[in-house]
Structure formats: structure tokens, C-alpha cells
């Protein structure tokens, strides 16, 4: 695939095989300067108006004085010209030295320079026609793609596999190509599904590859309408495809808490099968929860869906009350932890930036447990939000611990302030809580608790005595559950509060 360039011509090519192969090379700059045009100048001031990457051919009139060649070289260098061609007899040794100092190629034509200019112009013209054809072909190619990822892949491929991305809020929504090291960023704004928050189409052009950023921008502009169209179309498809998932929500999921309430499969025994849910298929549910304190923002769904494609490109993500829900059919042989790993790797960081949390259910087979796995995913997402905003939590790992995560932390902390004032005032309260929790977590075994904290048994015992001194009762079965709950909440609160001293007030 040729490198992008208005003509794809450069000095090295022209000197080796092109219309400049017969000129005398007084100095050739090491850089492969691109060539987009040629100008025959008879007045020095004309050089000030040339565009970059132009070959400047000096007429015999202007080449009559060596100083004019020097001045022409300087002005050509200031205009980022590709090369200066002088009549064979006009150059001087000092001009060659100046060309070398400025790093601009200096060539001498032994024939009429205008002939060289004409030959070069013809070659550039022919190449420009090729470029026009290439651009038209590229426009057709991207117009034929129906997904954002495929449009970006086509764009990246055409630009020599450079890294191209679709970004919003600084988050990469989709990408293609290989990220390089030292790059120039070329970006254009495009209208997103949420018009109030424009997205950006970015190409990262390696500095060493000789890409012309202006040409890269041209390709981005050609690709932009296709990116927008594919994005919009994917939204429509996603909405259609997410109907069965939304239906689960419409059928009463999440379930009411009351014991004995009917599950959807009991209420609608045949509807789930008609919606496409299969009894022999293992499913995972993924719930992406937004902070309920944050107002709902139009267009956020489109962004989340583009990110979701990195995890499960063919599974719809439905917008439901409180967040987004996906039911992911999984191959029976796939490890249940694979989906969690993908979630963390592909979208974990982006979710954190967006202030969203992800919950993953345990894997269940068939349509009947769908309501359950949706509940699990929702609970896991809520736990993830409480544990650390933006994190990914798995219900399988949370297990029954989810109950302690979902308790009202503020209420529990208030109780602790009232019942255990000595603990709450203690400067070493974090250590006390950690020690007491270790004791309770290890079946009230001082030895095991000491081992878990890498302490001597006697030290552990001393610390437990300290816990008792501040009011923590560790040997009363009637208080054990409450004490454990308070300790869990306090530890979590300490972790969430970096200082560990700014506990929530009543």
C-alpha cells in the first residue's frame, strides 16, 4: 500500500527513476522530501508564494548571479520546498555549501531548466490523476462499510496501517491500526449520536514515515461521513437487537423482593422462548450501572455501546432503568472468568473515566435463570460502584459477601459512632478494625488470625485486648453478626477514605 501523499512522489524516486534522473545532483538532502508541485521562477519574490513540497526551478535569468541562487535557496528553504534546480552554469560552490547547511536539495540542469520543469510537471500531473482515482476508490470503500470498526480498519489500511481512533470524552471508542511511538496527531471533529458532545476522528501519523499530515486529514474528512453513518446505523441495529433483553426488564426484572413472587418464566412460560432465549444455552449477564445521582445524558448509550463492542461485538446492549444490560450467550467450554477478564481489559479503564461500574453474573444455562443472572449482574454492578467507582465486580466472587457490601454504609457508620465511641475516637482505629476482622474471619482463632496478619500470637492477643478496650465485643454470639457488619463497613470506609480520618458525619 503506497504511503499517503498528494502525489506519492518524492525526491528520491524522481532522481532515481523519474523526470529528474538526468539532472546533476549538486547536493541531495538525506530526507526523502515529498514532491507535490513544481514552479519555474524568474523572480526571486515568486518563491515566497509557493506551497510546501514544491520543486523550485530557476530560470536562466534568475540564475545569472550566484547570490541569487543563495537567496533562492534560502527562500525555498523557508517555504519548505523540496528542491531547487538551477541552470548548469549558474551555481557557485558557496551555494552548494548553503544547500547542504539548509538541508535542501540543489540540482543543476544541463538543458533548458524550463524543459525540466515541464517534464516534472507532467509527471506530477499524471500522479495527481492517480491520486484522484485512489481517493475516489477510498471513498467508495469506506462508504461500503457498515460498522465503525470496519470503516476505521479501511482508513488505517489505506494510510499504511497507522493508528486511527474514534474518541469521545478523551476515551477511545473504536480503533484500528498499530499505535506508534513518535507521532503527529491529526484529528477532525465529527457529529456524534449526542450532538452536544462531538466526537473526534484521530490519526496518529508516525513522524518518520514521511506521511503528509495534510493528506491524512483529507482521508479523515472523506471517511468521516462513513464513520457517522456506521455509528448511527449500529445504534439502530443495536436498539432492534436489544429488544429481547429489554423485554426481560419489561417482564418484571429486577424481581420484587417479596418471597413467593412469580418469576417471569412462571408468569410468561412461553414468551421467553419466543423471544429467542434457549434452554440449552449458557448465559452470562452484564450490568453496567451509572451513578444514580448523575442525571441521565442523552447519547451516553451510543458511547457505552461502542465500548461494549470491544467486549462482545455481536451481543446487543440494552438501555434499562439505571444502566445498561447485556445477556451474553457463552460457549459451554469457555472459562467463566474469560468474560470478566475481557471486561477488565477492554473497557475497565473507560468505565472508570465515565463513572460507570460493571457487574457480571454467574453463568447459568437456559431461559429460566435469566431473571436470576440479571439480578446478580445488577447487584454485582452496584457492589462494584460502592467498592470502587468504575470497577468490574463478579457476583461469583462476591457471593454472599454482596449482602455486606450493599448495606447502608452511612447508617452503619452512624451506629458505630453511637455504640463504639472509644473505637471511633481511637487514633489506631484502622489497625483495631483490621485485627478484629482478621480474628472474626478466622473462626475466632488467635493463631490463624495472627498468621494471616503475619504477627506473633502474643502480639495478636495484645491487639485483641486493645479491641476489647475500645468496646468491641468478640465473644458474644448475639452481637457477633452486628459487630462483623460494622467492622466490614468501617474497613471499607477507611479504604475509600484515603486519610482514614474523615468518616461520614451523622
Amino acid at each position: 500500500m503506497p504511503k499517503p501523499g498528494a502525489t506519492n512522489l518524492n525526491m528520491a524516486t524522481l532522481l532515481a527513476h523519474g523526470s529528474l534522473r538526468a539532472v546533476k545532483q549538486l547536493y541531495v538532502a538525506p530526507e526523502r522530501a515529498p514532491v507535490n508541485g513544481v514552479v519555474l521562477v524568474s523572480q526571486l519574490e515568486a518563491i515566497r508564494r509557493i506551497p510546501p513540497n514544491t520543486v523550485v526551478v530557476l530560470s536562466p535569468d534568475i540564475g545569472s548571479g550566484g547570490w541569487k541562487v543563495s537567496a533562492a535557496l534560502r527562500q525555498a528553504w523557508e517555504r519548505k520546498a523540496s528542491a531547487v534546480i538551477v541552470p548548469e552554469s549558474a551555481y557557485a560552490a558557496s551555494a552548494v555549501g548553503l544547500a547542504e547547511r539548509l538541508g535542501i536539495s540543489l540540482l543543476a540542469a544541463d538543458t533548458d531548466p524550463s524543459r525540466v520543469a515541464l517534464a516534472l510537471a507532467a509527471e506530477i500531473g499524471a500522479m495527481e490523476s492517480v491520486v484522484d482515482v485512489e481517493l475516489a476508490g477510498f471513498a467508495r470503500a469506506v462508504a461500503g462499510e457498515s460498522t465503525v470498526n470496519n470503516v476505521l480498519k479501511t482508513l488505517s489500511h489505506r494510510l499504511g496501517a497507522i493508528h486511527v481512533t474514534l474518541e469521545q470524552y478523551g476515551i477511545v471508542l473504536a480503533s484500528a491500526g498499530t499505535a506508534g511511538g513518535d507521532v503527529i496527531e491529526v484529528g477532525i471533529g465529527i457529529r456524534s449520536v449526542d450532538p452536544s458532545v462531538p466526537a473526534t476522528l484521530v490519526a496518529r501519523v508516525p513522524k518518520t514515515d514521511g506521511h503528509d499530515p495534510g493528506v491524512v486529514r483529507m482521508f479523515l474528512e472523506i471517511a468521516a461521513p462513513s464513520v457517522q453513518a456506521a455509528w448511527m446505523a449500529s445504534e439502530i441495529r443495536e436498539n432492534e437487537a436489544s429488544t429481547p433483553t429489554i423485554a426481560l426488564s419489561e417482564m418484571g426484572i429486577p424481581l420484587p423482593v417479596s418471597v413467593g413472587a412469580q418469576t417471569p418464566d412462571e408468569t410468561f412460560p412461553k414468551l421467553l422462548a419466543k423471544l429467542g432465549w434457549r434452554d440449552d444455552q449458557p448465559y452470562d449477564a452484564v450490568w453496567i450501572a451509572r451513578d444514580p445521582r448523575e442525571p441521565h445524558r442523552a447519547g451516553r448509550t451510543a458511547v457505552v455501546r461502542l465500548l461494549w463492542r470491544k467486549v462482545a461485538p455481536h451481543r446487543p446492549l440494552a438501555e434499562v432503568l439505571g444502566g445498561w444490560l447485556a445477556i451474553v450467550p457463552c460457549p459451554a467450554e469457555e472459562e467463566p472468568s474469560r468474560l470478566e477478564q475481557r471486561l477488565r481489559a477492554k473497557i475497565g479503564a473507560s468505565m472508570t473515566e465515565l463513572g460507570l461500574s460493571v457487574g457480571l453474573s454467574r453463568r447459568q444455562t437456559g431461559a429460566r435463570p435469566l431473571h436470576a443472572i440479571v439480578q446478580e449482574a445488577r447487584i454485582a454492578a452496584e457492589c462494584a460502584r460502592r467498592l470502587h467507582e468504575g470497577s468490574v465486580a463478579s457476583f461469583a466472587k462476591l457471593g454472599i459477601g454482596a449482602a455486606s457490601v450493599l448495606v447502608d454504609d452511612d447508617a452503619i457508620t452512624s451506629i458505630a459512632r453511637l455504640i463504639l465511641p472509644a473505637l471511633m475516637a481511637a487514633p489506631d482505629r484502622e489497625q483495631i478494625v483490621r485485627d478484629a476482622l482478621a480474628f472474626m474471619d478466622h473462626q475466632s482463632s488467635v493463631t490463624m488470625a495472627a498468621n494471616s496478619l503475619d504477627l506473633h500470637r502474643n502480639t495478636m492477643q495484645t491487639r485483641l485486648n486493645r479491641a476489647k478496650d475500645v468496646g468491641i465485643t468478640l465473644n458474644d454470639p448475639s452481637q457477633r453478626l452486628s459487630i462483623h457488619l460494622i467492622l466490614c463497613v468501617l474497613e471499607r470506609t477507611f479504604l475509600n477514605d484515603e486519610s482514614g480520618k474523615q468518616l461520614p458525619e451523622n
Binding site: 545569472s64 550566484g66 547570490w67 558557496s94 547547511r101
Partner: protein, 358 residues
């Protein structure tokens, strides 16, 4: 009014050379020698233009050359007095004072001898403030002061009075006469009143040459002389560079100018910049890495970094390390009309003056 001393004359010669930076200063030495001899029995007065009556007739005296040096065809002695008498006879009015046609080179010093010969004071003013190769390149021309009638006289005693008012036509006619008169000729031109010279001339230019000479001939260190010169002339050093090579093929002869041309290339060994000087009678351009750093009417001088004296073009050798000094010309020359007349455009150079907006 001041009576010039032998020392003043010597310093004037040095200063005239500084501002001329010509190929060969021999002509200056010849005239300085003649003036020094004359001063043993005569004196010459330097006056300011204000010391004259506004209606007094003054005239510029100077040599117009077509490449021939004075040393090759020495003057007989009556060339300039003949020219002044011709002007007086034509205008039927006595010339009360003379002034130099240019404030450097041989024309900067020879009015002293003419003043001694004619018994006239020399006005400390001139119509160029430096030297230009063409007689119409003057501030008097910019001020619409007539160049004619012009008296031209050669060493053979042949003389012509050119009745001309168009200064460009005058250049052509006088240059043609000079060729016929042997290669150089004495001239008296720009006959005008003291008021006109006061309004349109460049003043203090003779004393400036003397001051330059005093500094250059001072026994102090070259660095202290250099600093005093920069202070006196508001000059700047464009580069301190080593001569790389010389060329002499750069110019076409579109203006029919008198002498051969040359180019100098120097390398600044500190910055690696390539300094290129373009010369045709005068230094016309200084390019640093191809960019115009100075251009006529700026006065360019080459100074020896070792001794602090002027280095004439004939003495420049490859490997020499020189200071390239730029001295601003008289302010009139940086006006739009001034640059058109004697800036790069006046020499058909397709570049803008770097200080064209000054």
C-alpha cells in the same frame, strides 16, 4: 569654521577609506600626500553650511571615473579650478564654497586640495553621506535640486559644460565624456544655494570621516577602537567570519557600471553561517545563509579582526578572518524615495531592503 590640520587630513583619508571599502585606496593616499604638501604653505577651511549666506552659490566637486585610477593618469592640477570657473562663468556668479560630491573614498578628500587651489572653504556637507557609483544617487536629486550645469574637465585641458537638468540623462552624458577624456575627469555639479544644500544635503559628513580616522589611528586596543567606532556610527557587526572563496562572475552589466564585480564568501566558524558579500564598486548585499542581512545603502566595511583596520578588497585573501560591519547610511536613504534611488531597487536587485520600513 575650522582650519584643518595635517593630522585632520590624515584622519580624513583613513575615514574616507573606511566608508569606501574600495579595491585600492592608492588614490586617497595620492591626494592626501598632495594636500599635506599644500598645507605647508596654505590652509583650508572647513565650514558648516549655516556659516554661508543662504543665497551663496556652492558647488559639488568630485572625480567621475570609468574604471581608471588616478595613479594611472595623474591630474595636471587645473582640472577642478577650471570646472569652478566654468560654472561661475555660466551662472555669472561667484562660487562661495565647495562641497564633496561624496563623503568617502577619493571624493571625500579631494575637495580639501580644491579648496586650497581655489581659495574656497569646504562645506562640511555632501549629497550622498557615503559614496554611490552614479551621480544621480544624491539627496540633492531627491530634493529636486538641479544637477546641472555640469562642468567636466580632463587632464588634457579639454573641458565641457553639460547643460542638463535630468539627473539620469546627466549620468549618461557625463559617463560618455569621461570615457572620451581618458578614463576619469574632474567635475563640478549640483550648483545650488547654501539654503538648498542646507535643506537637502547630508551634514557633518567630513568631520565624521575625520572622527573615524582618529579612532582607527588611535593607539588603543583593536577591541576598544571597535567599540568606539560602533558607538560613533551606530554600526553593527553582521559576522566575524573566515574568507572561504572569491568569485567575480556574478553580475550582468545592466547599468553599465564602471568596474568589474566580485563576490566574497565567508564562513562564520562559530555558527557555521555562510556569509556572502556581493560587490559592484560598492558592497551591495550581505547575505547570511541566503537571507539578506544588509543591502545598499547600508555602508559595509571589512575590518581586520587582528589589527582593527580597514581591509580593502585587493587585500582580502582566503583564510582571512574579518569583521563584516554594517553602518547605517543617512536617514534620507531609508525613505521610500531614497531606497528607490539608491536601495536594492536602484541597482536592479530583486530583493527588499531588510530595513525598508525603518
Amino acid at each position: 569654521m575650522s582650519t584643518l590640520t595635517s593630522s585632520d587630513v590624515h584622519h580624513l583619508g583613513v575615514g574616507a577609506n573606511f566608508l569606501a571599502c574600495q579595491v585600492d585606496p592608492t588614490s586617497i593616499y595620492i591626494y592626501e600626500d598632495m594636500i599635506q604638501h599644500a598645507l605647508t604653505t596654505h590652509s583650508v577651511e572647513l565650514i558648516s553650511v549655516e556659516e554661508l549666506h543662504p543665497d551663496d552659490l556652492v558647488v559639488a566637486v568630485g572625480i567621475v571615473s570609468q574604471g581608471l585610477l588616478i595613479a594611472d593618469m595623474p591630474p595636471v592640477g587645473d582640472e577642478f579650478t577650471g570646472c569652478i570657473q566654468a560654472i561661475e562663468a555660466r551662472l555669472n556668479k561667484k562660487v562661495r564654497a565647495i562641497f564633496p560630491l561624496a563623503a568617502s573614498n577619493i571624493n571625500g578628500i579631494l575637495p580639501l586640495l580644491v579648496g586650497i587651489q581655489a581659495g574656497l572653504p569646504v562645506v562640511d556637507s555632501d549629497p550622498m553621506g557615503r559614496i554611490f557609483p552614479l551621480i544621480y544617487q544624491s539627496t540633492l536629486n531627491m530634493g529636486n535640486v538641479g544637477i546641472g550645469p555640469i562642468a567636466v574637465r580632463g587632464v588634457t585641458g579639454e573641458q565641457a559644460l553639460v547643460e542638463v537638468q535630468d539627473p539620469y540623462r546627466a549620468e549618461t552624458l557625463v559617463r560618455a565624456l569621461v570615457i572620451e577624456l581618458g578614463g576619469w575627469a574632474a567635475t563640478a555639479m549640483y550648483p545650488c544655494t547654501a539654503r538648498q544644500l542646507g535643506e537637502h544635503g547630508v551634514h557633518g559628513s567630513v568631520m565624521r570621516m575625520i572622527r573615524i580616522g582618529e579612532i582607527l589611528e588611535d593607539g588603543g586596543s583593536s577591541e576598544s577602537r571597535y567599540l568606539r567606532l560602533m558607538d560613533l556610527l551606530h554600526a553593527t557587526r553582521i559576522a566575524r567570519a573566515r574568507v572561504s572563496h572569491r568569485e567575480s562572475f556574478s553580475w550582468d552589466k545592466g547599468l553599465g557600471l564602471p568596474t568589474q564585480t566580485t563576490s566574497l564568501t565567508l564562513i562564520d566558524e562559530t555558527t557555521d553561517q555562510i556569509i556572502r558579500l556581493e560587490i559592484q564598486n560598492e558592497f551591495l548585499l550581505v547575505l547570511v545563509d541566503g537571507a539578506v542581512a544588509a543591502a545598499i545603502p547600508d555602508i559595509i566595511t571589512l575590518l581586520s579582526t587582528e589589527h582593527g583596520h580597514v581591509v580593502n578588497l585587493d587585500d582580502v585573501g582566503e583564510g582571512d578572518v574579518l569583521d563584516v560591519i554594517m553602518t547605517p547610511a543617512a536617514p534620507q536613504w531609508y525613505s521610500e524615495a531614497g531606497l528607490k534611488l539608491a536601495g536594492p531597487a536602484g541597482f536592479i536587485l530583486p530583493v527588499d531592503h531588510p530595513r525598508r520600513h525603518a
